[in-house]
């Protein structure tokens, strides 16, 4: 489909509901979505995308391409925080630079899911390995971020040591990853049979549930926007330019790996997205000196909206040109 068609996708649910939530908050509406509901729907989304990914993976099977994709995904998750940190240090202190760098090394599941909708609308498939890649990319940057922080920011390392063990467990076994990977495995094992059982739940109402979640995301993003003003233009620019830079790398890697259009798009989205859930939760514990009022809003109120609004259509468009 051409660029206009593509843009028209953003006038159809789920995306506009994000802006509905955003606008509601800017208009000072009292709209409130209970956090227990947010938790429910986010677990649902992870369950659904993981399960579908597993079924896909059963079909595509494990090839060397799959292996290469996972390795490159891992590499991006490890390298991104390093150069992101180097850039951020120009303006931020060590703890905040390390925490924000970690956020950009990780991924945003909702951005990934929104991207998968674009492909669905265009009848383009993508491999289940991309879901595995997402799971794989969620945590490594946490370790890198903490490592940088410990390296440059002198600290009672011993007192920390025990913490570290627990931190790793929390990083790699947080609820999101467990549900995502677990559902992927269940999908992998049960495939057709499972899919036919789960279809109305993981398929039918999926986009509606995503719309509801994006409404919620819009509300939260709106509440965090204020913090951006304090953050200043440097961080606004960073929140837009780094995703573009990472997307370029992602497109390049996809090209070299010869990924098909769907996989190339999803891989690029993974590289370009930043985490506002898993990483912040870990950073709050691992780098308490860092200010959540900085690293959450940049990922949630700048990078996320930029991606679903402008980034996704752009990445899609470029990749389509390449594959013509």
């Amino acid at each position: 489909m051409d660029f206009n068609q593509l843009l028209s996708n953003f006038l159809a649910p789920p995306v506009p509901f994000f802006f509905l939530g955003l606008i509601a908050v800017l208009l000072k509406s009292d709209i409130e979505i209970p956090q227990q509901i947010s938790k429910f729907i986010s677990l649902y989304l992870l369950m659904a995308i993981g399960f579908k990914g597993g079924v896909e993976l059963h079909h595509s099977g494990f090839s060397t391409e799959v292996g290469l994709v996972l390795i490159c995904a891992m590499a991006m998750a490890i390298l991104t925080p390093l150069y992101a940190y180097w850039i951020l240090r120009k303006r931020l202190d060590i703890p905040n630079a390390a925490a924000l760098a970690a956020a950009f090394g990780s991924v945003s599941a909702v951005t990934f899911i929104t991207a998968s909708n674009i492909l669905a609308d265009a009848d383009i498939a993508f491999g289940g390995e991309m879901v595995a890649a997402m799971a794989l990319m969620e945590s490594p940057s946490i370790v890198i971020g903490v490592w940088i922080y410990r390296k440059y920011h002198d600290h009672g390392a011993n007192a920390q040591h025990l913490d570290l063990k627990e931190l790793l467990r929390e990083a790699f076994l947080n609820g999101s990853i467990v549900v995502l990977l677990g559902s992927l495995i269940i999908g992998l094992v049960s495939h057709e049979k499972g899919m036919q059982i789960m279809q109305p739940f993981t398929g039918g109402i999926f986009k509606g549930m995503l719309s509801f979640f994006l409404l919620d995301m819009g509300v939260v993003a709106g509440k965090r926007l204020g913090a951006i003003k304090q953050a200043g233009w440097f961080l606004v620019g960073f929140g837009i330019l780094l995703p573009l830079f990472n997307a370029a790398i992602g497109i390049g890697i996809s090209y070299m790996l010869g990924l098909n259009q769907g996989n190339a798009f999803m891989f690029t989205v993974l590289c370009a997205s930043a985490s506002y859930i898993a990483v912040p939760a870990a950073m709050r514990i691992a780098i308490p000196e860092a200010n959540p009022g900085i690293y959450v809003p940049v990922a949630l109120a700048i990078t996320f909206p930029f991606n679903i609004m402008a980034g996704l259509p752009l990445y899609y468009y470029i990749i389509e040109l390449i594959h013509k």
């Binding site: 956090q35 913090a227 009022g293």
Partner: protein, 99 residues
Amino acid sequence: MQNDIKRIEIITDYAFLSRLVKVIDGTGVSGYTILKDVAGKGLRGNKDGHGIAGGFKNCYIMVCCDEKEAKKVVEAVKPLITKYGGICIVSDAHWVIHN
């Protein structure tokens, strides 16, 4: 009928609840009460209690115990609070019933 006790209240980021509980269990107090959906504001900014985005929310722990245990609990939680933020306050109260 009444004997004096200390009433310790700790409020900090929800992320540290499990750690707090562990150290408090370590002091051997007879019990404690926990609230998990706590909003608020402090030096570390606004906790509006939103579900997404790594939960900007707090936890609340209340411990009733005698003065000796109270000292233990305070010493135990001090490093966590000083490192991670939040508050710990102590007030006087009386057991009326404890069973």
